[in-house]
Amino acid sequence: MALEYSQESRKALDSMRAEYPELRSILIPALKLAMKDHGSLTKESIELAADEAGVSGAVAAGVATFYHNLHTGTIGKHLIMICTTISCQLAGATDVVSRFEELLGITIGETTDDGLISLLAVECLACCGNSPAVQVDYDYFESFQPEQCEAVVESLRAGRHPEGGAGVPGGDPDREAEVGA
């Protein structure tokens, strides 16, 4: 059965079209929305995005496999992304990684069996000053210590966004909910 975008995503895509001189530009947003609606990028969801952006499935798949935040493998509902690049590694990112691995029972790059949490090692998050840096669902947790891991995992399992993230101080809380595309 052919996949469809959710109404919300369709609205976002429709408004996006006017912003770019060429339709093809909405391919990456379309892939992200397909991922948001249907989990990881399967062949069907890649084709859905390809049709949206007017490119062939092969090209869309080429784009999907190029960017590492477009996940073609299995991916959990929540992402824990740990920066393992140099500054964070110097500050002890390895300990954070092993603590998370221990807590979740999975290794880097894997997803928990319930499909809730994926543990990813990522490249520099531009947070080297307060390293090690961890992003949980794209919210920055700076100077992250292994002791904090447990709280993060617990709140994700409880369905809450973990506390202690940088968020956007002073930002509009309603707008913050929209992030993702």
Partner: protein, 542 residues
């Protein structure tokens, strides 16, 4: 500058420069490569200019028919003493530029690129179909250090099956993206793409879609290594066994230029021969893979009726007899698949005996109405429509002859190459003598009272006029048995026996006779027709 110029001999043979399309410009630029002065139209890149002059600069990702990608980094040269080496496929040539392509830093960089490319390339030349015409092999031989310092495990990819025409040995791929650019820029579809990134980059359709385009054979051609392989030729032979002869595709009126590669008097494969006026560097899959339909239901010996064999001498005698006794009832049908020389001899034979000739363009049903003219393939399935039309200038039409047949005024019908339909063949009952010269069984041969075996295009030489009015010559690829005659041999024999003309020993003589009679061919001779063909002053259907 003394010494000999280094020419691109690896692929093209000594002294033959590869076909490069230079930009059209009235202005020219003059610059030097290793001290050799090169002049090229303004806008040419260094590599284009060098190749068109026969100067070798090694390259992989550059293909003269595609945009330059600049990603293989093999064509790096020193330009005007700039600090970094520049890719010659990208940098436009400018007046007074001084290019160095043989200095130590350049050869060093080439060795490095070769070493990088070979890090993960399997050592499977012995069983790779590309071996012998592989750019990686040639450039390794010429430009690599011959050693590797890589000690780790090579990266591997699974075999990929794209369609019944094409497969991919991913290990051999050097990620030059020629195939992707071919599909994007020439074919128009984007069925191929790069996947992943960094060292894991892969090429393919990814979504497990099969390729469906009509130009898959070209993908195997553009692949500089043995990664994309044409299944038809897979393990068929080795390229160094093959001998090439110049051919013309008979699949449609485009008249794509071919190399017919043969091995021990068998056609191993056909591949496009670059001709910038006709087919550029390409040909379609119908022409490339479906030529073997010519061999279907082959007629190999003369016969009277179906199954009633007759020896050659006697068959020719019967045909002469038929011609001589025909009188007013003589008519001829010549197919638009016949060569110009055959059509001319046939026409002069029929007219000499007082008959009329009509062209046959094949039944309408053979042309698929959904078939579009794509960038190469034409709707007209006959390779020589314009040629036959211009030779039979004062001839009758097929419908006219059919009317005469139905009215019973035709007693003897000669058919050259035409297959006719069952419906038309059914109307031939009233014709006393039907002589068909054809290479394969068809309604026309079934209805015939005498069948003389013809040849397929690989077995003869001749000329075709393509849909643009371009006269092109092709050579005989396969040897015929000693006692076999080509159509020209048969027609020449009949003409001589009937006393209506001079005998023609070979195609060249037939062409000379043609050139002496038909206006459009005036002043031409068979041996001087350029390999790229020559435009005739006749109307084109383009």
């Amino acid at each position: 500058m003394s010494g000999t110029r280094k020419t691109l001999k690896a692929h093209m043979g000594e002294g033959i420069a590869p076909v490069v399309r230079l930009p059209e410009s009235d202005e020219t630029v003059t610059f030097t490569i290793d001290g050799w002065e090169v002049t090229a139209p303004k806008g040419s890149t260094i590599l284009q200019a060098a190749l068109s002059e026969g100067i070798e600069i090694p390259h992989f990702c550059y293909h003269p028919g595609l945009s330059a990608a600049g990603n293989c980094r093999m064509c790096l040269v020193q330009v005007d003493g700039r600090p970094k080496l520049e890719p010659s496929c990208i940098i436009p040539a400018a007046d007074g530029m001084e290019i160095v392509s043989s200095a130590e830093n350049v050869t060093e960089a080439r060795k490095a690129v070769m070493e990088f490319l070979l890090l993960n390339h399997p050592l499977d030349c012995p069983w790779c179909d590309k071996a012998g015409e592989c750019m990686l092999q040639d450039n390794t031989f010429e430009y690599s250090s011959g050693k590797t310092r890589h000690r780790m495990v090579k990266r591997t990819y699974p075999l990929k099956d794209f369609s019944d025409r094409l497969m991919m040995f991913g290990d051999r791929c050097i990620k030059c993206t020629r195939c992707i650019r071919f599909l994007r820029e020439i074919e128009g579809g984007e069925e191929f793409a790069l996947y992943n990134r960094g060292a894991d980059v892969d090429v393919g359709t990814y979504l497990e879609h099969n390729l469906s385009n009509n130009y898959q054979g070209c993908l195997a051609d553009v692949c500089p290594v043995g990664s994309l392989i044409s299944k038809q030729f897979l393990y068929h032979s080795r390229v160094f066994f093959l001998e090439a002869s110049l051919g013309i595709c008979t699949g449609c009126s485009a008249g794509c230029n071919l190399y017919v590669d043969r091995y021990e008097n068998r056609v191993a494969r056909v591949r496009p021969r670059p001709n910038l006026d006709v087919n550029d560097w390409w040909m379609c899959d119908i022409g490339r893979y479906e030529w073997d339909t010519l061999l279907d239901n082959r007629i190999l010996s003369p016969r009277l009726k179906a199954g009633e064999a007759v020896d050659g001498e006697k068959a020719l005698g019967t045909a002469v007899e038929a011609l001589k006794t025909a009188g007013d009832g003589l008519a001829g049908i010549v197919s638009a698949t016949a060569t110009c020389e055959e059509a001319f001899l046939f026409d002069s034979m029929i007219r000499g005996m007082g008959g009329v000739t009509a062209p046959w363009y094949g039944p309408q049903g053979r042309i698929d109405p959904t078939d579009k003219n794509d960038f190469l393939h034409r709707k007209d399935p006959n390779p020589n429509t314009l040629g036959v039309e211009s030779i039979l200038e004062n001839a009758s039409t097929f419908d006219d002859i059919l009317t005469r047949i139905e009215s019973g005024s035709v007693t003897t019908l000669f058919i050259l190459g035409a297959d006719l339909t069952d419906e038309i063949a059914g109307k031939l009952g009233g014709v006393a003598q039907i002589v068909t010269i054809t290479s394969s069984e068809s309604p026309a041969s079934v209805a015939a009272s005498l069948v003389l075996p013809g040849t397929i295009p690989f077995e003869k030489s001749g000329t075709f006029v393509n849909g643009d009015g371009r006269l092109q010559r092709f050579d005989q690829a396969l040897q015929l048995p000693d006692d076999a005659l080509t159509e020209i041999g048969i027609l020449s024999h009949l003409i001589t026996e009937c006393g209506t003309g001079e005998p023609c020993e070979d195609t060249a003589e037939a062409f000379a006779a043609l050139a002496g009679t038909v206006t459009a061919f005036k002043g031409l001779s068979f041996s001087t027709i350029p390999t790229g063909g020559t435009l005739l002053q006749i109307r084109g259907d383009a």
